[in-house]
Amino acid sequence: MFRVDLHPTHVSEDGKFKLRVGKPLPFGASIVPGGVNFSVYSHAATSCKLALFNKHEPKPFCVISFKDEFRIGNVFTMVVFDLDYENLEYGFYMDGPFNEREGHRFDKTKVLMDPYAKSIGGRDIWGKTPDWNDIYQHRARICFDDFDWENDHPLETPVEDLIIYEMHVRGFTQNPSSGVKHPGTFAGIKEKIPYLKELGVTCVELMPIHEFDEFENSRISPATGKMLMNYWGYSNVGFFAPKAGFAATGKFGMQTDECKTLIRELHKNGIEVILDVVFNHTAEGNEKGPYISYKGIDNKTYYLLTPDGYYYNFSGCGNTLNCNNPIVRNMILDCLRYWAADYHVDGFRFDLASILGRDMNGAPMHSPPLLETLAFDPILGKCKLIAEAWDAGGLYQVGCFPAWGRWAEWNGKYRDDLRKFLKGEPGSLGAMAQRLQGSPDLYSMEGRGATASINFITAHDGFTLYDMVSYNGKHNEANGENNSDGGNDNYSWNCGAEGDTKDAGIKWLRTKQMKNAVAMLLVSQGTPMILAGDEMANTQWGNNNAYCQDNEISWIDWSLFKKNRELFEFFRKMIAFRKAHPVLRSSGHFKNRDYMHSGFADITWHGQEAWNVDWSAESRSLAFMLCGMHAKGGTVDDNSVYVAMNMHWEMRGFRMPKLPDYMAWHVFANTDAQSPFDIWEPGKEVKLDNQNEFLVGPRSVVILVAKDK
């Protein structure tokens, strides 16, 4: 078939390149027959030029003006023919008003990155000092979109069946103790897939992998003399490109292929991928920050501005993305659709998601159009949507994030209430009972259920699990801010000594507390999330805000795997137990009645006496039983499970509910027992001699299973 539009209609000013008017959609650079279609939006620019660079070269080899006839509405678009697009980097020059009060900051001397760049160079190798004289620091590149996915498809695991494992791409394998060939990369994670399978997690949640600048605000720590970097990467340069420095092949510009290969291989092994996405601000900072893209392309569209034209700072990071501006809203939607369709991503966790519900003046909205759009989008229809339901501007929406039955939340109250209960704070029983049930006090409205609750004890923000039982207070001196950064409400307890200790009793108690914590997490309704490394007692030496630490503080120490094998085994078996028992994985909340006529309600509460809980403030003993006939709303048959938690410092006897004559209680886990008698393989539980009462040790959790005699 002969196509007329294969033929150019114009030539560039220097006569080198043949041109034609482009297609305004899709935005960005797209490979078309014979050339590349460029399209960029700006509602206030008066003119636009395309700058073409050879890879890594300081100056453009050609600058082409978008002719008047190449502007359609507020979109500049043209096709440039015969480009060697593998060796190409492109940017835009935009001219327009500079008027701070009006919110315009055009500077026609700046080379600007395409907001839709699918691949970004300039930080190709992690930590390689950039050339600060380069006029174009973050360089848009053309991306092949022909990856061969074989038969891959997002896994669409029901959210209540997920076991999420949160990791930093670099921190997971950068420590030489990881033993991988390409430490700190997507390829490194791929090498660790057998480990993830052994542990049993079914989903990895990757901390930000969109292109960011690890050198943003980099500095020498006055405390340690070491370089501090933007290590976590919660500061986007581009929303459509994977971080080149996270790819071993980034130096060859093949980060998109490496990232997609990782996702494909994870899927082959039954592991989903959730991306932590940061739509609340960008790396351009405030009026003092650099021009990377948005600021010079259309400042007023992309950012929330005060009436004087300054940047609102609801993110705590200098600027706030104007999420409910229709243009930005569409960009976010395009971005998520792209990652879902082109990268087969299974879901997203939205950093400081409450910002996504603020209007163009920064006020919280009742029914934010962006959040509604994402909830109902056809392409995102099977993606998990998880909100960090607060922001740095004071909005805290845990339990009331606008959800349309689609959005789940990082349940910050779960973390806090479990920690209080674990350390034996008085008066923590009532809240803990809610958390164990999937927080019906928070999520029973508007058709939400237990699946709205992402349960976690630890995450990248805050202490690791080991540090939570080893430090009373944070120790962030290495961050160079006099220990003033990072949260203070840690609800942690050091078990008797601050930091590492040789005291065998304290060490024993710490291990037990970690086992208690993960046992409670994995028998809670809702979706559990584990912080990578917690299963081997990884430490950050009390640093609860390691965002800038690109070193041993935040790199997982894999030598701990051998040292703390006992803890790993406990995690592994608890995960296997959760997978084996659908009764632990309801999507809805309990009805608190016996609708299956089994003799037990779906959930029943017990204390030292069966059927009788001491809910008083000084009580630290709580037990519950989940009736197996009520598993998944009575649709599947399972064993009944009984969990006794004694967070008192003294031993307590618990009387169990009496089972029908043909059944007997078997012990699956007892955190007060020495390994390997602390936990069994699911299905190999040991029958109890005493079917009436169980002595639960000080600060211990016991899990029993009802099985036929």
Partner: protein
């Protein structure tokens, strides 16, 4: 059976030439093609895409494309970027030819 040796870098600068050499060979059915990359120090993203395109074209015509003599680095890159799933590779052309003759490729 056809054996083609590529040397130097297979990247944006050379991929069009390589394509012109290889494409005519893909025109007929049941072609058995060995690409010897012993002298090839670097294959870029575009180069790998050319190889994959040729392999897919051949296999849709009952042909086979195998690779021989890959450097460790190229092998490594292909593994990390997922291209290795689509090729049989052999240490040298003799091994590739033997395998094709035995029907093992």
């Amino acid at each position: 059976m056809t054996i083609i040796s590529l040397s130097g870098s297979l990247d944006g600068n050379t991929v069009n030439d390589a394509q012109e050499k290889i494409m005519p060979l893909l025109a007929s059915n049941s072609i058995l093609l060995v690409l010897d990359l012993k002298g090839c120090g670097y294959i870029s993203s575009a180069g790998l895409r050319l190889l994959l395109m040729a392999a897919k074209q051949l296999s849709s015509q009952e042909g086979i494309l195998v690779l021989s003599g890959l450097s460790d680095e190229i092998k490594d890159v292909m593994e990390m970027t997922g291209f290795n799933n689509f090729f049989k590779t052999f240490p040298d052309t003799a091994a590739a030819v033997a395998a094709i003759r035995k029907g093992g490729a």
